[in-house]
Assembly symmetry: none
Homo-oligomer: 401 residues x 2
C-alpha cells in the first residue's frame, strides 16, 4: 500500500481547518557578506513567533540532491509522489490558463520565436512579445484541423502559448522541437515510440503551417514546441483526504496544479495582500487552503537577494491576519529552494514550519534554514507534510488494530 492509499483509508472529514502557505522557492543560501540566507536576513517577527509555538524542520521535495521543477515540488506538498506523478509541461501550461483538458488530449507548451532567412533561431522568445500580440498570433494558428485532429491554440503570457491536439490515436511520446539554443533550426519531431507516429506527423505539419502563417510577422515568425503530455489521472484531494480544498494563487501554473488535484480555484488579485483578503473572504467555505506566493521564487531566479528578503518580510506582515482566522493547522514552507546566489531552483532542503495545538513544539524560536536543522520535524520528505498536517488537524484515524 502506498501512502496515498493509506491516507485514503484513514482520513475522516471534520470541521478543523488547514492552511498551507507556500512561499515558492523559499529556501536560500547565505550571502557571502553576512553569512545569512534570505530567510535569515528578513525581519520576520511573526513567523518567528509561530516557529516558537510550532515545530520546524527541513523537507526534501523529491530527495536529497534533486532540484525540482514547480510541478514535482507542488505534487509532493499536496502528498503525491513527485516522481510517479510527474506532470508534463504542456499539460501545466494548458491547465494553468483554465483550459479544460480532456483525457485523450495531448498538450504542448509553445514559444513564439524569431528565425532568420535560413530558418535558424535568432531569439527563442521573439523579444518576449506582448501578451496582446501573442493573443493575435494564437488566433491565426487556432482551429486548424490536420488529418482528423483538432488543434486548439491559446495564449499564456508574453511569447508563451499552449497548444492542444484533440482526436483519436494520439500519444504524447514526442521530443521537443525547441533545441534550447539559438543559431540552429527548430528540430523536426521524431516519434519516441511507434504509437506516436500520427502525433509526430500532425505536430510537424502544424509547425510547418505555423511557419507559413507567421512568415510575414516580426519578430515572432516561428514557433517552438516542448513538453508534449497528457493529463495525469490523479485521485483528488477530496477523494484522498476528505477535504474541501481551495487554492489561492496569482500565477496560472499554480492554479493549474491545484486544479489537477481537485482544488477549487478562488478568484484573487495580484498581490500577497489580495491573496490574504481572498483567504479571509472564503475562509468559512473550505477546510483546506493552499496559498501560493510566487515572488520569492521570481526574485531568487533573478538573483535579487534583497528583493527576496523584502518579499519574505511582506509575507511576514500578513501572518497576524492568518493567525487571526485561527486555523487548526498552519504550515509555512516552500516547494523547493531558489537561492538568489544560484539564480535558479536548487536541491537544498526547504524549511518547514507546522503549527497546531498538538504539534509537540521544539526549541526552535526562529523560522530559518539553520534553526530548522534542530527542529522537531527533523528532515522529512515533502510528501509527509500533508499526513502531518492531517494528523495535527485530528483528521486521521488510527492505522491497524
Amino acid at each position: 500500500m502506498n501512502t496515498l492509499e493509506l491516507m485514503k483509508q484513514i482520513s475522516r472529514p471534520s470541521s478543523s481547518k488547514i492552511v498551507l502557505l507556500v512561499l515558492d522557492g523559499l529556501g536560500g543560501l547565505p550571502s557571502l557578506e553576512t553569512g545569512k540566507t534570505e530567510l535569515e536576513t528578513a525581519k520576520t517577527p511573526n513567523l518567528d513567533k509561530l516557529a516558537a509555538k510550532g515545530v520546524c524542520g527541513l523537507s526534501d521535495p523529491v530527495g536529497p540532491g534533486i532540484t525540482p521543477g514547480s510541478a514535482p515540488g507542488h505534487a509532493a506538498l499536496f502528498g503525491y509522489d513527485p516522481v510517479s506523478s510527474d506532470i508534463g509541461r504542456g499539460v501545466l501550461e494548458a491547465v494553468g490558463i483554465d483550459f479544460k483538458l480532456q483525457s485523450k488530449d495531448v498538450a504542448a507548451r509553445g514559444n513564439f520565436c524569431s528565425v532568420d532567412e535560413d530558418g535558424l533561431i535568432t531569439d527563442r522568445r521573439a523579444g518576449r512579445i506582448a501578451t496582446e500580440k501573442s493573443t493575435e498570433l494564437c488566433q491565426l494558428l487556432d482551429k486548424q484541423v490536420i488529418e482528423d485532429i483538432e488543434i486548439i491554440v491559446r495564449p499564456v503570457r508574453e511569447h508563451r502559448f499552449a497548444v492542444v491536439f484533440r482526436g483519436n490515436s494520439l500519444s504524447p511520446e514526442l521530443p521537443d522541437s525547441d533545441p534550447q539554443q539559438v543559431g540552429v533550426a527548430p528540430l523536426v519531431i521524431t516519434p519516441l515510440s511507434p504509437k506516436a507516429q500520427k502525433m509526430a506527423r500532425v505536430a510537424n505539419q502544424f509547425v510547418d503551417q505555423a511557419k507559413s502563417i507567421l512568415a510575414e510577422q516580426k519578430p515572432a515568425n516561428m514557433i517552438l514546441l516542448r513538453g508534449f503530455s497528457q493529463r495525469p489521472q490523479f485521485p483528488t484531494m477530496s477523494d484522498i483526504y476528505k477535504l474541501k480544498p481551495a487554492a489561492i494563487a496569482t500565477y496560472p501554473m499554480y492554479r493549474g496544479l491545484a486544479r489537477l488535484v481537485g482544488m477549487d480555484i478562488l478568484e484573487t488579485g495580484t498581490s500577497i495582500e489580495d491573496e490574504f483578503t481572498t483567504l479571509t473572504k472564503s475562509y468559512a467555505d473550505y477546510d483546506f487552503f493552499f496559498i501560493h506566493v510566487k515572488a520569492t521564487d521570481s526574485s531568487g531566479e533573478d538573483g535579487d537577494f534583497d528583493r527576496k528578503v523584502r518579499i519574505i518580510e511582506q509575507v511576514d506582515n500578513t501572518i497576524p491576519q492568518l493567525i487571526g482566522l485561527q486555523p487548526d493547522v498552519i504550515v509555512v514552507t516552500g516547494d523547493h529552494s531558489t537561492p538568489a546566489m544560484l539564480k535558479g531552483h536548487s536541491w537544498h532542503p526547504v524549511p518547514v514550519l507546522l503549527y497546531s495545538e498538538w504539534c509537540r513544539t521544539d526549541k526552535v524560536t526562529e523560522f530559518s534554514e539553520s534553526a530548522s536543522i534542530l527542529g522537531g520535524l527533523g528532515r522529512i520528505p515533502a510528501v509527509q507534510i500533508m499526513p502531518l498536517a492531517m494528523a495535527n488537524a485530528l483528521k486521521l484515524t488510527k492505522f491497524g488494530a
Copy 2:
C-alpha cells in the same frame, strides 16, 4: 530486496544479547502548565545515565502523521514492515490468549453487549461484565457447528472474547457486525467479496444463535463481532535474525504479537518488577528479550498524566537490574506515543535510546522527546531499530563485496 531479506542474508548467530524494552505509548505531549511531557516530567536518573552513554533519536512507527495501533507499532519494532504486515484484530485476540490458530482459521474479536427489547444496542460492553461471567457465557456459545464449520469461543477479559471459525472455504473478507455506537441494531454481515459468502452466512447464523442462547441473560444478552482475519504468514525472528527470542509481557495481546513472529513466551507476573524478575531468571536461555510495559499506554489513554509519570519512574527504578545483567545492546523505546493530553494513541514520533559498547554516543544526556531531537540516531522509521540493535550486537556481517 526488502530489509527483512537483507537482514536474513547478513544476520549471524552469536553469544551477544539484546534487550528491547518497550514502554507502550511512551511518547507524550507537554503539559500546558510545565511545558514538559510525561517522560520529561518523570525523574529518570537511570535512563538519563543510559542516554548519556548511549545514542538517542526519534522514531516513526509507521510514518510521520500516522497514528498506529498496537499491532503495526510492534511489527515495526520487530523489524517487519508495519503496513504490509498488518494483523487483524480477531487474530490478535486469539493469539493473545494462547490459542493455536491454524492457517485456514478465521478469527474475530467479540464483545458481549446489551440490547433492548427492540434489539437496539444499549451498551456495547454489557457493563464490562466480569471475566468469570464472560467465561460462563463463552461456554454456552462454544462448540457449535454451522454447516461444516466448527466454532470455538474463548473468553479474553471482561466483556471481550475471541471466536474462531474452523473449516473449509472460509475467507476473512467480512465487515464488522459492531456498529460502534448505541441506539442501533448490530449490523448484518454482508460479504466483501464473493468468496466470503459462506463465511458471512456462518457468521450471521452464529450471531442469531447467540441472540437466542443469551436471550435471558442480563446484561450480556447479545454479541458484536469485529476484525475478521486470518493468521499472517510471517518469517520468524529466528529465521530472519538467527536469534533465540523471548517475550515478557503481562498483557495477552503483546504475548500474541510476539508469538506471531516466533518468540518464546515466558511466564511472568503482573507487575513491572515481576517482568524484570522473569528476565533475570531466564537471562541465560535466550539472546533476545522483548519486555513489554503496558501501563504507560493505559495511563496515557486514561488521560492520567501523573500516573504515566509514576510508571515511567517505576521502570527507571528497574534499569540498574537490567544493566546489572550486562546485555550487549539495550534499546528503550515505545511502540507509539500515547499523550495523556490526547487520551489516545498519537502520531508523534517516539523517543529511542540505544546503548551498546559500539553505539557512537551523542551529546544527549537525558532520555526525553526534546533531547532526542538532537540525538545521533536522528529521526528514523521504527523498522530500522532492529537492524541497529543487531549491528550493535555485532550480529551482522558486511553487505556486499
